[in-house]
């Protein structure tokens, strides 16, 4: 059993709940059990809502799935759109897409990586990094960043906008488009669209380099904090292409241990059911995946930018690869596991995404019109992609009447479930144990979650400003005090539950 997952007894302990976790899309809740000396006995990240896509997609025609399932998320819908499309390519027997279709899908996907990583880093995480984890809460948001660091805020907003434009030109809309269809794509890229996207790239690459330097400066300014915050070591999983390079659209999966040594050097994602298992725990709607042969206690792993930048042998774009080497140097020959390094890896991926987009826009294939292929119809298809937050698995079975009969989705958030729980336990032990709990300290917990995922909506769904409420409850369940943040960001403290 994992440390701090289950308290030996709940007798005499009080419960602190961060419900919901803020600046995170979707409904998540963190509970802490503390004794009278504020010693932490239990910490859990709960996913408290249920979506049900795997059930209500049953009976629908297979060609509808890539468009429907992307509604799982408003931050990275393209990832679901493309993972489902890849699975449906298998269903329609499209073993090899046309060069134009494959490259347009890659263009769409790397646009998604740029926009989603930009919103994650600049809009949601940078307020903590720039202002301080326990800074004035009313300023600790993107508006506060815009007031104090207008250039950084502007660059983040325009980086995201550029990614959205790439998606717009390849999918028809900035959010929830229809570009990928089983066997290819439905839309060619025009010369005018290509030229418009090329025009702004040099400036955007400079800004992305600035983002990487910013994260490097954060680390250099306070290496002890950045290297230890939420630190834990674990296995890692990511996608690699044939030569071992990072590939976010297609490749095999590689799993390494905490030392970076391969557990599975590569396996075809079609076989994921042979390699991975999922465990259910009574206190969360989100499952806990693990490597079958290692079991749930030793076989859990992390995915996402930090994991995949270390499972790959190299990044196949020069600026991002140089930045990766700089980041890995802080590990002194060992893999980097510090939680906040996820953000460093994330901004390196923005740079990589823009370099890939640049290469694709210079490739004449993206202007082709040969968009669709079909082959021998199949009954089962798996599609896997590296979504901004990590490996995303879509698996479907389709009957002879073309209706979906089975759907299994393992989203990035789910892969990182144990990792996020372990990270917040690490933070709680480092920063909250035996201390008087304040909003700033609780935000440390949220910072650990945001490093992995600003978006729990693959398993949950909610939009808008999220108020934060922290209740101090005694062992009998009676609320002793209440700390509440309203939608305007103001804090209200009361001794008694109102």
């Amino acid at each position: 059993m994992f440390e701090l997952e289950n308290a030996k007894t709940t007798q005499g302990l009080r419960r602190v709940a961060i419900d919901p976790v803020s600046r995170v899309e979707g409904h998540g809740k963190v509970t802490l059990l503390l004794d009278e000396q504020n010693k932490i006995h239990q910490v859990r990240l709960h996913i408290v809502e249920f979506r049900g896509f795997e059930v209500f997609i049953k009976g629908r025609p297979y060609w509808e799935v890539p468009v429907t399932v992307q509604r799982l998320c408003g931050i990275c819908p393209v990832s679901h759109h493309l993972a489902a499309s890849k699975a449906m390519d298998v269903i329609v027997g499209a073993k090899q897409l046309t060069p134009t279709a494959e490259k347009l899908r890659r263009l769409m996907h790397y646009g998604q990586i740029v926009q989603s990583n930009a919103v994650h880093f600049y809009h949601l995480a940078s307020p903590d990094l720039l202002m301080g984890f326990d800074s004035e809460v009313a300023q600790r948001n993107i508006v506060g960043v815009a007031m104090k660091y207008p250039d950084i805020a502007k660059q983040g907003i325009l980086l995201r906008k550029y990614g959205q434009e790439v998606i717009h030109y390849t999918a028809g809309k900035r959010i929830h488009g229809t570009g990928a269809i089983p066997g290819g794509v439905n839309k060619a890229l025009t010369v005018a669209e290509r030229d418009k996207l090329k025009k702004d790239l040099p400036q955007l690459i400079e800004w992305a380099k600035g983002g990487v330097e910013l994260m490097q400066r954060f680390h250099e300014a306070n290496p002890a904090f950045y290297n230890s915050f939420g630190l834990f070591e674990s296995n890692m999983m990511g996608m690699v292409r044939e030569d071992g390079a990072l590939d976010l659209y297609h490749g095999d999966l590689r799993i390494t241990d905490a030392e970076g040594k391969p557990i599975f050097d590569r396996f075809s994602y079609d076989n994921y059911t042979q390699i991975l298992r999922e465990e259910v725990k009574s206190w969360s709607y989100m499952k806990f995946p693990y490597i079958a042969e290692l079991g749930p206690e030793k076989g859990w792993y992390k995915v996402g930018p930090l994991a995949r930048l270390q499972t790959c042998d190299f990044i196949p774009s020069p600026l991002a690869e140089a930045a990766r080497k700089t980041m890995l140097a802080i590990g002194n020959g060992r893999p980097v596991h510090s939680t906040l390094s996820y953000h460093w890896a994330r901004v390196i991926e923005i740079l990589h995404g823009l370099e890939v987009i640049q290469d694709l826009l210079n490739d004449p294939d993206v202007l082709g019109n040969d968009l669709l292929v079909k082959g021998e119809r199949q009954e089962e298809g798996v599609g896997v992609i590296e979504a901004p937050r990590g490996v995303l698995i879509h698996h479907y079975k389709v009957n002879e009447d073309d209706q979906v009969t089975m759907c299994n989705l393992i989203v990035s958030t789910t892969h990182n479930n144990q990792a996020m729980n372990t990270a917040i336990r690490s933070v709680a032990t480092q920063h909250l144990d035996r201390r008087v709990i304040t909003e700033g300290l609780l935000n440390h917990i949220e910072c650990a979650i945001r490093a992995y995922d600003p978006c729990l909506s693959c398993a949950t769904h909610a939009m808008g400003k999220m108020p934060l409420q922290v209740e101090l409850v005694d062992a009998a369940g009676e609320c002793l005090s209440l700390l509440r943040r309203d939608a305007a960001g103001n804090f209200h403290n009361s001794d008694m539950y109102a």
Partner: protein, 239 residues
């Protein structure tokens, strides 16, 4: 202008030929009257009531009302459009019209009219029906949760295709389209995607298989030009 064969819509004279309905004459003159269950060449049946107009102060369906000389007709007025919007809202909540995932989106007459008439919310509680989804035919997919019982497929199958595959069953709120085959499934009928009935559905209830979303966003029927400016298309469709 010869007033013998003209009538007035919203103050403008509209010429007509004897035997034409108000809707036919209006479309010919490029005047848009919202409608769902009218299709050129099929017998108008006044099912959907979207084309309700006011003739000399009295409400009537433009698709079934013969044009008469000198009629004073109100069409594009706030009061009539309010009623049309209400009828659209009722159609939306009676079925499962989930535009975000529906492949008819952008080509859907119901959706286009909702945009045209500025329907911002469904207003009423959704029925969330659980009707038949029939995937038994190799070429066509039926989702009766999207059917608005306009009757166009029934007419086209009966009067043009001479197959009588689609039949209206039940009465009032319970009326619904059924398939005239031994099992009640489309796969057991002699339906073909080349039938007229396959192409008259104004919503996403009857769809060809394997082609969903093949037209990119921006190039779909109602993406660029609102339905009210597409009278040329609406009047030249052929049954």
């Amino acid at each position: 202008m010869n007033t013998e064969n003209t009538f007035i819509i919203d103050g403008s004279p509209i010429p007509f030929e004897p035997g034409q309905t108000v809707l036919e004459a209006a479309l010919k003159a490029d005047v848009f009257i919202p409608h769902l269950c009218y299709f050129p060449g099929l017998r108008p049946n006044g099912n959907c009531k979207l084309c309700t107009i006011s003739i000399n102060g009295k409400h009537s369906s433009a698709c079934t009302t013969l044009a008469r000389p000198g009629s004073e007709i109100e069409n594009n007025t706030p009061a009539l459009n309010d009623k049309r919007r209400l009828m659209l809202q009722m159609l939306f909540v009676e079925g499962n019209h989930f535009c975000p995932g529906c492949e008819k989106s952008g080509n859907c007459q119901l959706q286009a009219l909702a945009y045209e008439l500025e329907m911002m919310t469904p207003h009423f509680n959704h029925f969330f029906p659980n009707r038949k989804v029939d995937a038994s035919h190799p070429e066509a997919f039926l989702d009766m949760n999207r059917c608005i019982t306009c009757g166009l497929c029934v007419q086209a199958s009966r009067d043009v295709d001479k197959k009588n595959i689609f039949i209206l069953s039940g009465r009032g709120m319970a009326s619904h389209v059924v398939i005239n085959s031994p099992s009640g499934n489309l796969g057991d009928s002699d339906f073909s995607m080349s039938d007229k009935a396959a192409s008259v559905c104004p919503v996403g209830a009857i769809l060809p298989k394997h082609r969903g979303y093949s037209v990119p966003i921006g190039k779909r029927l109602y993406d660029g030009v609102p339905i009210s400016s597409q009278t040329e298309f609406l009047k030249t469709r052929k049954a």
